[in-house]
Symmetry: C2
Subunit: 402 residues, 2 copies
């Protein structure tokens, strides 16, 4: 039984401290938080997934190297600069950021990961980081400040925490994320931080995280582009005092379920807060021959510009859904496909049925629209989330950045 | 030496006849041409490429079956309905269209291909086609009418013809295409028809067409979606009276060059006339380890929503080009990448150089913008074309269709 914690965040699990400060990295004079630290009181198991973009930020490169360890202490994160496409200086700066954090917190710099998000192609203003890092107070109620410090074009912070019972003891999982809204061009990064006081070793934590990310962050789309800095980190410090949870534990399923819940909620929040977006779509494809096929079709639909514009217009233009399914290349039989919009069936066996158009248009006039596709050729299903494409998106992303 | 023919079109090559009529398939009362026929006076070698979408129009299915023959006589094409997602009726209707055309022209219906473009999910109004097909007069100067009859949301017809010398005789290649502009939602199809009086057998014609399409229609992008009806047909009837041109002919290269020229020009016209588009981009990637890599990166750039919006804003936001290159997954070395915008270098060895921003912004304030990417890791290159993403695109494609 998973319970949602009110105002929960990354410091809701026991033994995690966080904080943020204004260092002037984003807009000078804005006094918004732009430098944050999240640490565990003691060594925590680390699991992570990183962008597969071949032009990664040196902050990603450094964190990837260090995340190979079984345990780390925490992470320092900045917004304002992605620390990307800046040559060899980027790696030096990422290392110095971790050294400054280590010095300030009296921890081993090698146990600190580094995350950066912001404009590509400008160097980190290290002088500002050196001057201001000392102002960060890492406290057990600093999770909200940390979530604010990693925001770029997000209009609100994205955070939550849940708890569940493990052998009579409460285990908590907290999370914070930032989205890929891009009002200011080039500020494109998805970062997510998950903390838990569960006792989980690196191997099971990584396996669980990879599965959860596959069903959440990897199933959302805003504009089909992939950041140079995308990172999801999970830290587990065992402070809940339970027995270790691994593959064979009776609590392995509830842990994976909780972790997936946190990842899905954060992922959906990123979509809801996507730049320019007015509507979210949840695309569920079932009856596929494999989960891979179902996921491929669901993503093809959620990323299609023609589907995104029809969502924006509140238009039950099902031919575009068929087009996207066909384009995905998965195994289908056209004459078996059924399509539902907010649970109203509009296509039966590949052909339109005489649905009441006004009812469907009305059903699409919602902040969240569900597209259901039944392929009826197998038993596998998958869900993806996306947002509408709006005039605002075009206007925001056409503005000068340089 | 390739020469452009003034006002050239699909009936410029010897022995081709075409025409169109108003049948009421698009907007009743509009009196625009919507049903067209293109035939050769005698059997013509046929080569074709079709959509790979798994939900193809039955018109595509029928044409694909018939294009297996060495020769055909011609094609009947309609706009207004894509004849797609209409169940088994679609195949019956496509067959009847070819039978009606065969009867009208006194040719074997099996020698007629069928192309449809327009709304997905509505049946062809066969009664209107039966009533009006008799009005089509196929003449040797009807190429322009044919080009108009296949238009949907295109704002202008797309046609040209070129000629070159083969052993002292003039050989002509003509072409007509329609684009994937989608002012009226769901009307998404690229159709192209190439005619030539060259004497070319099926095998060499198909090989040449596939190569030309790979460098032209397959390298353009408007919105990353793929129609259920995309078709390119090439007909060669030998009326120029030259020796046969095949792989070993001294004229094989000039023929391929001419065919590619026609395909590239039609493809670029489709991009220029894309719905809502105000600017075209030409993306050339050189110094790649393979043509496949170069093409992949060029297409990744030309299809990126963030690149399309930066093109719209006239913004030299090079981080987005780096992002797209990295995302493409091809072999690169970040520290070797050079980037040029309209021949002004802005990135050297993976890092920005201090370019005069106003000059680059000014260079981008053009109807056609060239992005040049030198990867400097090999010798292969490729070019792709795309258009900007505009508010108009969103507005047009958000409108009700149903």
């Amino acid at each position: 039984m998973i319970e949602l914690i009110q105002n929960g965040n990354v410091t809701s699990p026991l033994g995690f401290l966080a904080g943020g400060t204004y260092a002037g990295l984003k807009a000078p004079g804005d006094e918004v938080l732009d430098l944050g630290i999240l640490i565990s009181e003691s060594q925590a198991s680390i699991a992570a997934t990183f962008t597969t973009n071949n032009v990664p930020s040196p902050s990603v490169v450094l964190s990837k190297e260090r995340a190979v360890s079984d345990t780390v202490i925490g992470v320092i994160a900045n917004s304002g600069s992605a620390n990307c496409c800046v040559g060899s200086q980027g790696y030096e700066d990422a290392k110095e950021m971790s050294a400054l954090a280590g010095g300030h917190l009296s921890v081993n710099p090698e146990d600190m990961l580094v995350c950066s998000t912001g404009v590509i192609g400008v160097e980190l203003p290290m002088a500002l980081i050196r001057q201001n890092i000392g102002n960060i107070k890492a406290t057990s109620d600093g999770g909200h400040d940390f979530a604010k410090a990693i925001m770029t074009t997000d209009t609100r912070s994205k955070e939550l925490a849940i708890s569940f019972d493990v052998g009579g003891k409460k285990v908590t999982i907290g999370g914070a994320a930032k989205g890929a809204g891009m009002i200011h061009p080039n500020m494109a990064t998805m970062l997510a931080f998950i903390t838990t006081d569960a006792s989980v070793g690196k191997a099971f934590l990584q396996k669980s995280l990879s599965e959860s990310v596959g069903q959440s962050f990897n199933m959302i789309d805003i504009d089909n582009d992939q950041s140079t800095n995308d990172t999801v980190l999970a830290l587990s410090n065992g402070k809940s005092g339970t027995d270790e949870i691994d593959e064979n534990s009776p609590y392995s399923n509830i842990f994976k379920e909780g972790l997936t819940y946190v990842c899905v909620e954060l992922a959906k929040e990123i979509v809801r807060d996507a730049e320019g977006a007015q509507r979210m779509m949840e695309v569920t494809v079932d009856g596929a021959v494999s989960v891979e096929d179902a996921a491929k079709a669901a993503r093809e639909i959620s990323t299609s510009m023609l589907v995104k514009t029809m969502l924006h217009g509140g238009d039950p233009n099902w031919g575009r859904l068929m087009m996207a399914i066909g384009k995905s290349g998965i195994k289908i039989k056209e004459s078996k496909i059924d399509i539902y919009i907010n649970e109203i069936q509009i296509v039966h066996e590949g052909q339109t049925i005489s649905f009441f158009k006004d009812a469907v248009v009305s059903a699409m006039n919602a902040s969240e629209v569900k597209f259901g596709i039944s392929l009826n050729v197998g038993d596998a299903s998958a869900t993806a989330w996306g947002c509408d494409l709006t005039e605002e998106y075009v206007v925001f992303n056409s503005a000068y950045s340089t």
